[in-house]
Every structure is written in C-alpha cells, then in structure tokens.
Subunit: 434 residues, 2 copies
C-alpha cells in the first residue's frame, strides 16, 4: 500500500501498520515530518527547525515492511490504481492513503503571498523570523541614520489559534526579549495588531475562552480588531474596513485550503478542496482509497472534524484497523473522533484550553499554559526533540533570551525602502488614518 | 570609534573596550556572530545554526558604551574619516577597526560557485546540508524507480582544515548515520574524494600530522588525491589533472580571498586582498585605522599569522590596549601572536593537533579529538550554546543519530537530472575515466 504525506496522519498510519503483513511505501516531497503545533516558536526565534522536525526516513527506519520515498505525487489514476510522481515514474497501489494536508488560502489574492507570508513549512517559519527580527534592525538603523523610522507595527491577519499564538509571541519578543538590545528604538513601543473578520477570536472555541484570549492578548498590549475584514494588502500596509494600517511586517493566518491532491482524486470536495469522506474514511465509491487529516472533510454529529493534529493521528491509526479487518474478512469499523480537547498559547505564561478528556473543563491563564507544555512535550516525536525542546523552554523562560535570533537570507523588507524615502509626512498621514 | 565586522576580531575588540571612556559602534551586515570553527557541523546535520550563532546585539547588550548597527559598509573615506553605508548614510569615525574577514576564492572561476559551494555563512552550511542529504534521497528515489542511479560521489576540493573536516564528516554521515534508513541504496557504498593541488593535506601543519590526517581519512574510506589541481567544475563532475570525476555533490574548500573592504581603504594589500599591516595593526600611514583577523596580512618572524580564530581574538584584545595607550599618552605596544596551536577534526573520533601551549606536542587520534572538544566548547560564546552543543554532541555520539537532517529549499541538485536522463551508458563511461 502507498501512503502519501508524512504529517501526523501519514506517520501514524505507517506506524500502526508496522507488524501487519503489508508492504508500505510512504511518499512525501519533504524529507521531514514536522511538529506543526510548535512551528510558531521557530518563527519567533525560540526553537530551531531541527528541534521540531525529524527525517521521515529515520522515524520509520526500523520498520522492516516500510520504505520511504522522497518525491512529489502529481497524478492519481484511480482506475488503473497508479500514482504519477514528479520524476514521471509511476507507482501502483492496492490501498492508497492520501494525507497531504493543507496550505494557506489567500481567498483568490495570491498576490498577497509575498507581502504576508503564512506559517506552514520550515521555510515559512524562517521567513517570518527573518521579517520580524529585521524590522527591529531596520528601525534601529534608520533611527540612528535619519532620526526617524516608519511605525514598527506587526499586523497578524486571522484570529484562529495560529494568529493568536503569533500575535502573543511577537508581543513577547518586543516587550520582554529585546529590552537591553537597542539604543535608539524602544522595541516595547512597537504595536501588534490582530485582525479578524469574524465577531470574536478563536471562533472554533467556546465563547468564554474567546473572551479570555482577547483579554489576555490586550494585557500583553496586542490590539485586537474583530469584525475587521482585510480588503487589501500592500508593501508596508494592510487595509481593513476602509482603514489603512501601517505594517512593518504582515503575517497571514486567515485561510486554509486543502492540498491540490484532493482534486486529483476526482472525488467530491468541499469549498476548501477537502475530500468528502464517509466514516470509513473513503471517498464515495473508492473503498481502496483513504483520505485522512486536514485533507479530509468528515462530519460527525453534524459537526466537521477540525483540521488539527489529534483527529489526523486517530485517522492514521484507524486505517490500520480497517486494513486488519479487510485481511481477516471482517466488516470495516467506523471511525469516531475521540476529542480530548483543544488549546492555544497566548504569549509567555498564558493559554486557553477546552478540555474534553479525562475531564471536561475550560481552562485559561497559567494552568492552561502548563497543561499545554506537558501535552506538547509528550506528543513531540523523538526523545531528543522532547529533551531539547524542554530545556530550551526552561532556558528561554528563565533567562529572557531567545536562542534562535538569526536573520538569514535577504536583508530587506517589502515596502520598507519606499516608506523610508517617503519620509515623515507619510507617517503622519498614515498615523492619522488609523 | 567604529568597528566593522562582528566576527572573532570585532567582537573581541568591542568586548575589550567595555570599560574604557570611548563610545563604540559595531557595524555588521549580519545580525549574528558566528562560531565558524563548528560551521561544518551545521553543514553535516549535527548542529542547528542557532547553536553556534548569537545576535551581536545580545552579546553586547549590557555594554553601555557600545551600540550595534546592522548595515553594510560600501565606502571608506580615510581623509574625511567617514564610512558610507549601504543605506547611503555616512558614519564618521576617530578610530576605525576593520575586521570583515574573508570569503571563498574560486581563482577567477566564479562560475564554479553555484556548482561547488563553500562554507563561510549559515546559508552556505544549509546549502551544503541540503545537497548532501538530497543526494542520498535522489539516489534512493531513482534506484526505486529506474533500478539505477548516478554514482554517489562526494568531491571535496581543498585539503586544508575545512576540507579535511568536511570529508571526514561526510564519510561519517554515509558510513554510520544512515545505516538503517534506506532500502534500495547502501549509503556506506558512496565515495568521498578529497582533492588537493599540493603535495600533502593540511599544508600549514607539520608533516607528521599531515600524514596522520591522510591515514585517518583513508581508514574512514575517504579517497585522498593530492597533487590534483582542479581544472574544471561542471554540473555533476569535477576535472583534475586530465581526469573527470563523477560528483553528486561538489564542495569548495580551496581558496580564500579577503573581504573587498580591504581594497576600499586604499592601503597596500597582498594577492588575496588582505591589508598589509605593521605590528601595531595599522596599514602604512593610517595610525587611526586598525585591520584585524583574516583581513590583515601580518608577518611575525618571517611567517604570516594564519587566518584563524585565535590571532583574530588576540588582535581584537590588542586594539583595546593600543587605545588605552593613546588615551594615557603612552607609546603603542606591539602585537605579538601567542600561538597556542592548531587543530582539525577528522570524523567521529579522531583529530590532529599541533599544541604550542601549555606544552609543545603533536597529537592525533582520540586524545586530539577529546582536546578539540574541550577547546571548542570552551570558546563557544554564550552559556546556552555551550550547554546545548555539548549535549548535542553526547547525544549524537551515543545514538548515531544526527538531529538536524532537514532538507529545506530547492529539491534538486545541479547536474542530477541530466545524468539521470543520460542513463547507464554515461555512468560506465565516467566510471572508466576515473
């Protein structure tokens, strides 16, 4: 059988098939599995990419019935049961597991991508890190050389968990971690804006936790603007509800669209491109194809199962149970999502958590944050990563130093030069406008 | 006073000026100080960039008389005592310390750069990591899909310390760290070639250590080819002494040229562009300008002081002594290089060391390697880095797992596709040729 995608769903499916009489090929275009829930900490200079990524090959190296292939799937022929790879080779399958996840959606404004990067890959995280750190450097440089700098605003678009975590973490960096580093600017005076089109942050969470999150962010100095649909993004600015906001760095955490592989199946998809599957994880009429994780659209009790790590892992495990049933000639068991809850951190010492298991509770503040730490360390793949991330957190927490404050790559920011040339006048204008 | 360059020399100069009545501006185009002696371990997937890099700003954050500016110096006016920056601003100086180091020289063949990257920056290291890891992945992919792959040769050009360390480390990766990871190729069967134009490796070391290094490399399976001047480099091959060697990944460790800032001074430079300075570290006729580290050409007892970390640090410290003398109206003290020795690692458990202090000795094998570890941990800047690098080494050593095996960026290798299309015939030809 062939598994496409080495995320939570794919890795769990492969792992669950370990001792079964099947031969598994896992195909991914990247060489590493990424622990995405901590990717924002790579972006905000706490962790290094290697702390939360592991070669798929080495995760599965001891699993004799499994091989790993680094290649891209560009075509699926469900009739011939064959995949076409980027290298134009073909791979046949008896069972196919599709778990290629999702990426950002700019709602048809792909031109916003270079202006407002999102957070899905290691490269994304390093690009965000580069932009955020560079903004402070450029402001200091300009202050020294011209006695003035464009407003140091960080605008995060999208108030889901990623947006909330990014906004809180940027605020931490500016308020706490750069205190003694600059001579001409005061990083603590930079502004962090979090824009969301909806009426509240964390729309998928209970209302009391949304309120808590908003309160906590405001205590951190983040300006939360709900009901603020972004209508345009330019170099150095963001427009929402007719207002133009200055922005040194704009980050995108608003939309998600499924991997294009879903459409290649030819099965029905929802408006984000997710493949609609039944409770055996099959698209209609394709019992040999399983679609898992963020790429799957599955409803249970009228509610769509969210695109987060937990259901992805469970779906991965469940595929192995279905294959076992097939091998033994039993009917296939149905998938049920066992929801243990959801959580999002907000800066240095707070989080919100909706706990469903082992007890039901809404948590916030420090207790939620401590729970978050335990859960995330526990689920990190690889003993080394667990140890190193844990020590890095302790280190960062007590020393107020972020270990990964490296600016690599290009040394410019979109829009910065133009705004510098335009000078003070434009600043006054744009300040007045927002 | 203005220091340009945040390497060993610049950071030490700034640090030594800490409590003196001067105001210091350190300018660097990068935001971080890099512990270059360990950069090859970033390239070969042991360490993460953040483990050996620190923001210059945070190294100097508590030093009240010092500010850090991230910008590029593009012009030096020694008459007006003024620097022009990349942002076109000007910065005046009374004292100027130039310590911008060196980069690769391709001996006039700049077209070889994309085909054979060198190792000077974090980006270089990640590019080398990408290429080395990708070569194994592409070979596995091709073996699976076509039953054949181009020869998995790694060619390192240049037998100085960097070349020796890279060759040894690649051999380690192939022989030890990927044992169970592939199903179709045997990484241990890849070849590592180390080419040098001179008669022996490590030309700056005593002959017995060169011999030791060569023997150790051969034990690791590295093919050492001395007296092999490289005459041409192409995508997928290297030509030396009329022979063409297949090469999946070619690395450049051969030539060094000084940073272009040396020439901007208008003072005499040697053939590599290093500024010729006297024993007060001044170019002729410019007593207010100091040139340090790899950028300086300084001879002592008829021998040029080598472009390594130790003299750079000592020169940095010495500048502070000269400034102190100036402030007190004393004559300037002369600089003398206190040579404690030199060392280079060769793979997992060996090194060569020429020890000059506290006793004189030539060391090799395990004792040299253990000494190397102690010295390098000791000189790492930042307590965090010391702890984390130390633990990473222990981890890597005992588990045979490299924690940073991430392929990021472009997913192709120069020349690989062409060689794949050409197929078996070309392989037989080129095998016969070498």
């Amino acid at each position: 059988m062939v598994i496409v995608g080495g995320g939570f769903a794919g890795i769990h499916a492969a792992g669950a098939l370990k001792d079964m009489p099947v031969s598994v090929t896992l195909i991914d275009r990247r060489n590493h599995h990424l622990f995405q829930p901590l990717l924002y900490q790579v972006a905000l200079a706490v962790l290094s990419p290697a702390d939360i990524a592991q070669p798929i090959r080495s995760i599965l190296s001891r699993q004799k019935n499994t091989e790993v292939l680094m290649d891209e799937v560009v075509g699926i022929d469900v009739t011939a049961r064959q995949l076409t790879l980027g290298s134009s080779a073909r791979v046949a399958y008896d069972y196919l597991v599709l778990a290629t996840g999702a990426s950002h959606s700019y709602f048809g404004h792909e031109e916003w991508l270079p202006l407002a990067p999102g957070l899905k890959t290691v490269e994304d995280a390093l690009e965000i890190r580069r932009r955020v750190l560079l903004a402070f450097e450029l402001a200091e440089r300009q202050m020294l050389e011209h006695g003035w700098h464009p407003p140091l605003n960080f605008v995060v678009i999208g108030g889901g968990p990623t947006g909330v975590e990014l906004a809180g973490a940027i605020s931490d960096v500016a308020q706490l971690y750069m205190k003694h580093d600059f001579r001409h600017i005061d990083p603590a005076k930079s502004r962090v804006l979090l824009l969301d089109g909806g009426p509240r942050l964390l729309a998928a969470y209970p209302e009391d936790l949304s309120t808590k999150a908003e309160e906590t962010l405001k205590q951190l100095g983040v300006e939360v603007l709900t009901k603020s649909n972004v209508t345009d993004v330019g170099p150095g600015w963001v427009e929402a509800e007719g207002k133009r906001f200055d922005s040194a760095v704009t980050l995108w955490a608003a939309g998600v669209q499924a991997s294009p592989l879903g459409k290649l199946l030819g099965a029905p998809v929802d408006k984000r491109g997710c493949v609609i599957v039944d409770d055996r994880l099959n698209p209609p009429g394709l019992p040999e194809v399983f679609v898992l994780g963020d790429l799957a659209h599955l409803e249970e009790n009228g509610r769509q199962i969210p695109g987060v790590a937990q259901p992805a892992m469970q779906m991965g495990d469940h595929v192995a149970k279905i294959i076992a049933a097939d091998l033994e000639g039993r009917p296939r068991p149905a998938f049920h999502y066992f929801d243990k809850g959801d959580m999002a951190t907000i800066g240095r010492m707070a989080a919100v958590a909706k706990v469903e298991w082992p007890f039901k509770a809404h948590m916030s503040g420090l207790p939620a944050w401590l729970t978050w730490i335990v859960v995330h360390i526990f689920f990190l793949i690889g003993f080394r990563n667990r140890i190193f991330v844990f020590w890095t957190w302790i280190w960062t927490y007590f020393t107020f130093r972020r270990g990964a404050r490296l600016i690599t790559g290009d040394q410019q920011l979109p829009g910065w030069k133009e705004r510098t040339k335009a000078g003070r006048v434009e600043e006054t204008k744009s300040r007045a406008a927002d």
